[in-house]
Symmetry: C2
Subunit: 261 residues, 2 copies
């Protein structure tokens, strides 16, 4: 993967937009051949009967394939890619970052379930004892994302007053999720609206740990796979480790040096 | 309501498009003040505790308010409006039409449920014994319809080879629905794609009885009310009347003459 550090860097304008909105979309960051290789690797990994493959409550198909950097060398290299790490470092400063979670969210055609309004830090804080909402979620679209295949919806600026109030939903989705209720989402949307980034495979998206988002079910015949790397400063690491390693990795080795040889 | 018959008529081009696609969108057919009056009338009707107000399985809020032309004079007049009837007659010919169903589908903010892929004729045929897929569904948006508040998605041309195969779903939605499975929707979408008409309140939409459609849940803070009049040629009336009158009205008095004085 040959894109240089300079190419990967965000402009000052983009950094301002990220601070204001809590997310930024970066089209065309990964090439079609790279995306094809990721999808091919994923096809194999999804056939494995392992706890890292989380299945939908109803259909039993794989909803999320986790721990990917430990399961395939392609993803092992990808978590060190400057196109992911350079923007993250511009936001977080030049501090050691570890790979907190490395997964692909698979919204299969016709069966992909909805995700209620939530933000990731609620889980990271309540379940793992992460102190501050500093982690960044770095997405790569592995399919074209359209209005029809269960795209993520974000409330821009919903991170600005600090993490919103949450409650634990154990019924709607395939695993317990700290959700943000209508009485909280309503006023946030009134202020910031809703955006729904779409685009071809290879599009990159970065958003913050306290940004409120949701997604509708995928009712279309088109799958919607998204690679997701969550990076977190080592300084801000989890304080408890009650959850499985693939949900929050315990290896705090700083990213950026490449995989061990 | 003053729009003339000439204004209401579809052009030859629009009629061709309707024949090809099975639907047509007609922006700005109803004025903002008319829509406001409809919404005000509906607010009152929705507070009634009657069987015509169908409630969501989960939340208990009104999902569909039916039999409206018999419950409020505004809707009693609306079913005779040339803006609805003239396009319908252009498609069906100059034959007597009756009001088969008169409702508002309410997708309330945050709670509005999804509708699986289906077409209306499956219910009209299986439940009511309607012989042919001739009925037309005439919609008026009573709120702005956006990508976020549970808009209808249609498969253009899905009516062309005759009604698609169906099966009865008694679990997903708040009442039993004849749905079209993934193995049928997939090829239809491959041929025709998916369209999702959006637009301000007052937009009109007409679609045929065999056209495959669906809608995602409304996860947004914005409600999505749509008025729906289903007209059917008297000649093609129901052959059985096992369902409640508000689900398929038994009064075959031809539309267009106005309400009885």
């Amino acid at each position: 993967m040959s894109t240089s550090t300079v190419d990967a860097a965000l402009t000052d304008e983009q950094l301002d937009a990220f601070e204001r909105d809590g997310l930024i979309v970066l089209p065309g960051r990964f090439r079609p051949d790279e995306v094809r290789e990721m999808n091919a690797a994923l096809d194999g990994l999804m056939r494995e009967d392992v706890p890292e493959n989380i299945r939908e409550r109803g259909s039993g198909v794989v909803r999320t394939a986790m721990g990917l950097h430990l399961r395939h060398e392609l993803f092992g290299r990808l978590v060190h890619d400057p196109r992911l790490l350079v923007p993250a470092r511009q936001v977080l400063g030049d501090v050691p970052l570890y790979a907190q979670q490395v997964k692909v969210n698979v919204k299969e055609a016709f069966t992909g379930e909805q995700w209620q309004w939530h933000y990731d830090f609620a889980t990271h804080h309540h379940e793992d004892g992460v102190p501050e909402p500093l982690a960044l979620n770095l997405h790569i679209f592995l399919d074209e994302v359209t209005e029809f295949n269960g795209p993520l919806m974000f409330v821009p600026g919903s991170h600005r007053d600090g993490p919103a109030a949450t409650s634990l939903d154990t019924t709607t989705t395939s695993y317990p999720l700290w959700t943000v209720g209508p009485e909280v989402v309503g006023p946030l949307v009134e202020r910031g609206g809703i955006v729904c980034p779409k685009g071809p495979a290879g599009t990159m998206l970065m958003f913050g740990d306290a940004l409120v988002h949701a997604s509708p079910p995928n009712m279309s015949p088109w799958p919607r796979r998204i690679f997701s790397l969550i990076v977190n400063p080592v300084e801000n690491r989890q304080r408890t480790d009650g959850r499985a390693d693939h949900l929050h990795h315990r290896d705090l080795t700083p990213l950026g040096a490449g995989p061990p040889r």
